[in-house]
Amino acid sequence: MSRIRFGKYETICLLVNLISTQTFLGFPRTMVEIAGTAGWILVIYVYVLTLILFLFISKLYSHFEGKDLLDIAEIAGGGVARVVVGSIIVAYLVFAVSIILREFSENMKVISYDASPVSYISLFFLSGMVISAYIGLEALMRYSGIAVPIIVTGLIAIFIGVSPFIDLENLMPILGNGLYDIFVKGVLRVSTFSPLIILYLFNPFIGSNRNFRQAGVYGISIAFVLMLLCTSIYLSVYPYPFSLQSFLPVHTMARTISLGRFFQRLESVFMFIWVTNALIYLSSGFFLINYVFKKTFNLVYYKPLIIPFAIIILSISLLPDNLMSVLKLVNDYFRSYVWITTFPIPILVLIAARYRVRGKKGVKAR
């Protein structure tokens, strides 16, 4: 593994993909639910918070160049800390991948495959994940480098296509549900940027701390621009009551596009970028599960874990009864608490490791 290296560009692409996956799901609607017509302000607020937190974490990381979070946990508290941190991350990833798998499959069923069972659709996503995990990280990163610009272009094309329907009146009142909802209730939405955790785990492959910091800042910022565009355009195209109802805001926008008499109902083309985005998210998440598990428990290979984890993930993803249960799970629990693994835990681990290293240096000096 140590010979694997990928560039800043590929890392940024992957990060943009992972964060912007929510754009394809219910992200704009969730923002509207929390902040009303000020959903776009909430996006900016969450971005600024995330950026500050990330810069603080990257400052702490500067003392541990080339080490991932598990290595740092080991420095902080030995093997036990590594196992604890690794298990938390694996649990988070298993939950995240399972839920997103189900969410994508359900949405796919709603869009085009209403006659197919969810398990059937999930199975194909799962096979893509398994193939990607076997092919390996390098290929996944390279693929992201090619696919993400296409996905971003596709998204922007949808935004441009829907732009004739923009009515800025729909953004009024400007502060939506009020300052409390935006700045207090909205804090938990830093979870939006929870995929940042990959940076803490891919640090050995990224190279220098400078690359780490730049990849993070660029990744967060590009994803923020996309999400801001998506939320603000969604809000300004549809009246507030309608924007609360759409399950798939981007799909709804794509349906609205009408370029003359011939090019109408282009939302199926949107499926290409949608499925690609989902597969990159699920595949990288799935790879990370195997990789983190392997590293946590000091295993030699990760490939024997692929099939067992695939079965676990499929089983968990099929546990919720229906799409409503999935959405409730995502909004009430997943998005409310997932920030804990991305920000507080790494900060605690990094501070503990820093003190540990300083302590050792002090003992040596004496």
Binding site: G7, S112, F124, G128, I135, A139, Y143, R265, F272, S283
Partner: protein
Amino acid sequence: MKKKDNFLAAFFKKLAYKKKPKAKSFYIPEINEHSGNAGAGPQDPAGGGGAKKEGKGQGKRSQKASGAAAVSTDINENLEFISQSFNLPENADIIIRQFTIAGEVRAFMAYIDGLVNKQLVSISILRPVLSLKSGDFERGKKLIDFIINNVIEISGVKKSANPSDAIYGILAGKTALYVDGCDSYALCETQMFEKRAVETPRVENIVRGPQEGFTEDLKTNVALLRRIFRNKNLVSEYLNVGYRNNIQCAVVYVKDIINPAIVKEIKRRINSIDVDAVIGDGVLGQLIEDEAWSLVPTMLTTERPDRTAYCIAEGRAAIIMEGSPFAIIVPVTLFSLLHSPEDFFLKWPFAILLRFIRLLSLFLAALLPALYIAITTFHREMIPTDLLISIIKAKENVPFPTVLEILLMEVSFELIREAGVRMPGIVGQTLGIIGALILGQAAVQANVVSPVLIIIIAATGLGNFAIPNFDLAFAVRILRFIFIFASAVLGFYGITLVLVALTGAIASMKSFGVPFLSTAAPRVRKSFDSFIMWPIWKQEMRPDVLNPLDTRKQAPISRKWTKEDPDSGYRKGEDDA
């Protein structure tokens, strides 16, 4: 002639029918490895005699590894060695000509009839040697040196003290001369065999640019390259492959450009090949390529010396085999496979246009039938109403589902193509055109397929033919069927899944250490000739992924005349008067 029976005799013979004794049928007996009944076994040039079979894991078999290590000083032993090695007297092609020099020293020449220029052998070797007089030379081990330096009238003569080299030399068309008492052979370059003349390339035809293609003769091919690329650092290293056919291949590269690790790796792979016969570049390519299980080729095959020269000037290596009119270029990327030799001879905007057309053709060839199935089966809402009505009208009398229609036509198309290739010349072309027309027309009239589908299949076929690389076009033919099945099962979702898996697999592939999708993934220094071809004078650097010794192809300002004033010039806007 057999005497004809009269009617009565024939009648009685019929009555008294007697079964004819049947002749025994032939069968191939099994070889008992331990009993020594293995027959000739693998060729043992050093005259080991019996068969030498090596099991799995016993290392590389080598013709040079076995047999005598040094040449005997006794002529009888050497005659015996040559005779045994070439299976004389059964082998009628081997000529051993014995003679006596100045009536006192015995000698012999050995060569293969048909591979040598007999006139040259007679005039330049035999006649001068036989004209030696007894006082002209001293007997002993040095006599062969004297003959090489003073007697033989051929420019290419090499002394060889290794019996295996002598055998290989004879097999390659050289004449081996042995003189009694010496411990070496003189190997004279007397090769001459029938070969095809340099002709126009058959697969890579272009409008502009050279019209010469490689031939089956290795030396001619290397000479064609040297004629275009006149550089003292152009190196052609010759290696032998194939345990039994022992054929030569040349690794050609520019020493001060290519990364030495690439050459080392090519030689390592070729030298490690342990198969009986390597016949042609296709076999060699399969034996040395990185991704043996991949559909997409990771090597570029070209029959054009100009393209080969361009590639080696970029820092790649060419592998040319004896008996094959193609050169294998390594390492390459996927983008190289979409280039045509014509691109380099056209102005860059034309080349860009052609490359976009080729990309479109790749897209059509791989995806068009699958997209048609997906749209008409799963995503009908996408089709504009007017078009939908005309598709439905055309399809209303067709009883088959779209996927079956597509498969029927695709299989027919593949059959026509394969039959067209197998049929000779004009007949094949006619069969292709007539077959496609008649089959398409008849299928539509019989309501087996819809007319729209004929358009889809025709566009797909055209797209496939427009792909410039033969191997890549083949891969696309197979991938098309995979996409068809995926779209029949899951529509756009299925196509995207296969597309993601395929791109992921291609992204993980390497061609002699070079990531196959670079310069796109991984991103490396901007290339001015990957997919989009920039003007020639902007292509200053060699491809970054090759890590060449000399990264710069041109000076920062390659057209220096643009910065210099001409002897008789004027500035724009100045009054000429």
